[in-house]
Point group: C2
Chain length 363, copies 2
């Protein structure tokens, strides 16, 4: 086996080693199936059991109330950017309120504008998306079709600690990059979506948790694949779902429940990993400069800069040589980004911290 490095990629991202080992063991023949998970029918009993297990474990992890449905779709968050407004907005109805705390929120807005009436309720542009809206800064409409947030912005490293209060207006959340990193009060959400390739699996499967009453907004005129109600009515089997992705998701959910011990424990680990990095940045006398304000720093994506781009290049090259991989910031903003999702071991963060201290002392 080739040696594994510490992979700080923002997504697709590191997965639990025990999950990979499990998948590897049974890749030629799934127990009881006589065929690979890549080969079995999505309507077979073996896959039906996996699908139900995945839903059950996710329900347990997030304490999902009974009036919510779990869907396993394809197309990533990009497709959700369109599906959300196409299902939840109507041309002559009230607009949706979008809160923009970074690049992905802006991308979501771009698609929503094509689908129906929208309103920007807050935009962090003035401070280059380094913060969340301050108290009282967002004026939400009590009649809005929904309020959309991006719980964690991977590019800027800005993250909501708690959900904004939206009253009776459904809160819709792009939770792609921090899904399952902490417990959530699902009852506060109307709809929550996440592509899997950060905390929940390989690229190619997208998880949607939707409150049942919102399914009634889906019109028959929608393109079939884009209709939440069709997927809910068919328990994610209207078409062939991403079988392998759902299988890996189920293994990850089991890892979270049985190996980690639930999302409270996962969150404590995540906070402690992030704290190690932020403490180091804060103690570096400006050698490392964090992008986001300290009260809304992401515990998933730690973004920072060095004094020059040349120094950043050197940092990245040396890190790579030390087995610390994919630390380059998003191409739209540059800098450094350490993505430390659920499956990043503490040892990976310790290694990075040691490297950062050493690099600073030598520069």
């Amino acid at each position: 086996m080739t040696e594994r490095i510490f992979n700080f990629s923002a997504g697709p991202a590191v997965l639990p080693l025990s999950v990979l080992e499990h998948a590897q063991r049974e890749l030629l023949a799934l127990p009881g199936a006589g065929a690979s998970i890549l080969e079995i029918s999505h309507r077979s009993k073996v896959f039906e059991a996996i699908l139900q297990s995945a839903k059950k474990r996710l329900t347990e992890l997030l304490s999902i109330p009974e009036n919510y449905r779990i869907l396993f779709l394809q197309g990533g968050s990009r497709l959700q950017f369109s599906m959300v407004p196409m299902n939840l907005l109507s041309a002559d109805g009230p607009p949706a309120d979008y809160i923009l705390t970074g690049s992905w929120g802006k991308n979501a807005l771009k698609e929503a504008i094509k689908a129906g009436p929208v309103r920007v309720a807050w935009d962090g542009k003035a401070s280059n998306y380094d913060r969340l809206p301050g108290a009282g800064a967002v004026q939400l409409s009590p009649q809005a079709a929904y309020v959309h947030i991006t719980s964690n912005e991977t590019i800027e490293g800005v993250q909501f600690r708690t959900e904004p209060e939206t009253g009776d207006v459904p809160l819709v959340c792009d939770s792609s990059s921090d899904f399952l990193h902490r417990p959530l009060d699902i009852a506060r959400y109307g709809l929550l979506y996440a592509c899997a390739q950060k905390n929940a699996g390989p690229a190619g499967v997208t998880i949607v948790i939707i409150r049942e009453d919102l399914l009634e907004r889906s019109q028959d005129s929608l393109p079939g694949y884009l209709n939440y109600k069709i997927h809910a009515d068919n328990d994610s089997l209207w078409n062939t779902p991403a079988v392998f992705g759902i299988y890996i998701f189920d293994l990850i959910a089991r890892w979270l429940l049985e190996d980690i011990g639930g999302l409270d424990k996962m969150y404590a680990q995540n906070c402690s990993k992030a704290q190690m990095l932020y403490d180091l940045i804060d103690a570096s006398n400006g050698f490392y400069r964090g992008h986001s304000q300290s009260d809304c720093r992401s515990v998933m994506n730690v973004t920072f800069r060095l004094s020059t781009e040349e120094l950043e290049k050197k940092f990245l090259a040396e890190a790579e040589k030390n087995g610390l991989s994919s630390l380059k910031g998003h191409r739209s903003v540059g800098g450094i980004r350490a993505s430390i999702y659920n499956a990043m071991p503490v040892e990976g963060v310790t290694s990075l911290c040691n490297f950062m201290r050493d690099f600073a002392s030598r520069s």
Copy 2:
């Protein structure tokens, strides 16, 4: 390792064992990456090389001309049923002609109707979808926006041997269930799409081959993920694609080129496998009754009935016991269906034939 059975599932379906073994070997760490194919960034050099290799091998297999683009999407054929008309039709333009030779063509039509003007140019309903249109039976409009066919109908087992002549009108083909089973003259197509889970990989990746001039029909107002031009302009990396599915597709393309020796040889194998089953059916004195007319029988899905449903049940139960799995016909039509895609070994078909002869002699 659990023993592998012969898997006659219509999809997801059997994959080449050597491909599964290769994927298994490097599932923990892809050579040169230090991380699993499930964990690496879609923008990493390692994945970029896989993506380009997949396109190169597909181009070689099908001799794809230079004025075509290859896209790797998600959402299966169901999403293509909507994307094709949403991109290629305009509300005030000429209708598209749909030729219906089975259930999947009808599903494609249902979505097209929502998107723009369509016309049914031929419908096999009168004979319960057991045949292709006879000579002169289809009146295509020379001004049609496109002509849509389903090259192989998995449920009925009806397959086009050659493409219908559409002159200057772009031929659009749902090739999901027979993609890569024989060489094609791509220049005869405007657009060809296929979900991977029959001959080309696991569920979750969809391949589109589109003639470049047709990309100009995609309007900016389309939902971003549904816009072919956006995907073409970004070389399938507008969003995170199904990384693992593309990796497996690349391995399958290599298997076709290097182990099988190209699509001519693959087609010869496929015809020979199908002939074994059809010869047995024809020689069974009506014990096994094929569904489709003999001149349009599918070489991918061999569908047949026995005299009673009870006997079919017995057949399926005994087959399963003999390691011949997933032979049940689609739930909408019943009966028996043996799906014998590229990766079904000749030994699987021989085993099935032996079982069928024995079963008939005992009944």
